[in-house]
Symmetry: C2
Subunit: 279 residues, 2 copies
């Protein structure tokens, strides 16, 4: 299977529409149809059920979509890492969620920079749930993840810290004076729904809360009395006076881990991980 065929397939499988997929691929529709047919014939597998009104994935097609995305990521990673190995021998890219680990990250960067043989570290801030993909496709070398929110499947990890969670409420809200709250309390606050985060596939679950992509967005909504949230304690350091925090003892504890792609073979990366573990 050629990567070109895989890219075509993924485009059609995501759009479920040959015309739009062709547009996205900057080509005409007939050669795309033909390429998919050829792929199906070579694999000996039907990937799509087509009618003139709708295109749907078969079971095998769903498997190829998932596996094919991973394979394309691996190819992209190979290309990117090769380019980086050639041009700058130096530099690590660390990715984390915008607005998370605001205490740990500067400490880690400072401590690592003080090590002998440290290389420059670029920090890449991304939306929720993007870290894993950036690691897998070679745009980043190492990530800070927060279990159990992020998935560390297929990555090597070391645990760094564990912390409890606190409820974040608009300043002056009646419940803001409470000593503690339970998850059930927070979920049931009238008029302040919990936000909806994007799932692994980038889609949002159904529900009443506002859709959010990062912490800045969320905090603004809370300050505006449009939402409440439960976040790790360390978020407190970047909160303003317009929100209040209340401990939530029965919320799951959050573990911050440092994660990297398996089989990484870089002295610089090993040094950064060693520094992180010692913190």
């Amino acid at each position: 299977m050629e990567t070109r065929e895989l890219r075509y397939f993924v485009a059609v499988a995501e759009q479920l529409h040959f015309g739009r997929a062709a547009e996205r691929l900057q080509m005409a529709q007939p050669p795309l149809s033909r390429a998919i047919r050829q792929l199906e014939r070579r694999l000996g597998v039907t990937l799509f059920e087509r009618s003139s009104r709708a295109v749907t994935l078969t079971e095998a097609g769903a498997v190829l979509l998932r596996e094919g995305r991973a394979a394309l990521d691996a190819v992209d990673a190979a290309e990117r890492r090769t380019r980086r190995a050639a041009h700058g021998p130096a530099g690590l890219v660390l990715v984390t969620k915008a607005g998370a680990s605001s205490e740990l990250l500067p400490k880690l960067l400072d401590a690592y920079a003080a090590e002998p043989g440290a290389v420059p570290v670029d920090v890449l801030l991304c939306g929720v749930g993007q870290q894993e993909r950036l690691l897998r496709d070679g745009q980043a070398d190492v990530a800070l993840l927060h279990l159990p929110f992020d998935s560390a499947a297929g990555l090597d990890i070391e645990e760094l810290t564990t912390e409890g969670q606190v409820a974040i409420l608009p300043a002056g809200h009646p419940l803001a004076g409470r000593r503690t709250l339970s998850m059930a309390d927070v979920a049931a606050i009238p008029g302040l729904p919990l936000p909806r985060w994007p799932g692994r596939d980038g889609r949002y679950p159904d529900g009443p809360g506002p859709e959010v992509r990062d912490h800045a967005q969320l905090l603004q909504l809370i300050a505006l009395s449009r939402a409440a949230a439960v976040l790790p304690e360390s978020c407190r350091s970047l909160l303003g006076a317009d929100v209040a925090t209340v401990p939530v003892p029965d919320a799951p504890r959050v573990t911050t881990v440092i994660a990297w792609p398996p089989h990484s073979r870089s002295l610089a990366l090993a040094g950064l991980i060693r520094t992180a573990i010692r913190l």
Copy 2:
């Protein structure tokens, strides 16, 4: 980057010889040279240092070799898993080292077969160190690994059992009567060197012992008084009267784990793993 280019590159990088690589790829040498040049131009990276006497990998080339192999495995896995999803909706392939887990494996298979909704499980026995690759390129769904010998990098695992190790000696050897032996004792037996197992890259380390690929081979060599070995206790069940065992308390304990590729989404696999954990 197309997979064709990657396959060409990997062939040349492994042979370090354009002529032989072309032969292996069943093509003529000039188009191969041209393809590699094009790849280098498109990446903007020199992958090989060539002289008319020798071809060597650059640093960037070494990166592309490692990453490219992983990417090709991912593409192969996508193809194989798609075919299997289409043709037989059923069946899991479990891979383990020939001659290992001889007690655990039948128990696991029997217990799983008794579960409601169990699917047929094919058992694939392979040489040492091959399991990880078979999982990654889609030929197998799940593996039994033995830490710390096997590497579980990039796989999801659950621990099943932990056991000590015993020395395996020819029957009648003077040391066979001892209550216990230390690692140092075993390593220093005159005339009975420890065997050499293949490393991650399939090559054998230098040293005096015989090169072995699986346990059957090893046991035969021990019976012939050509080697001694230290193996997990559970190996005892498949030993004949021609060898003797002596516990080695200071040998590292061996953990048997069940391992599977991350992001696996199969009910059958989940059932097998659940059964294994309950054992």
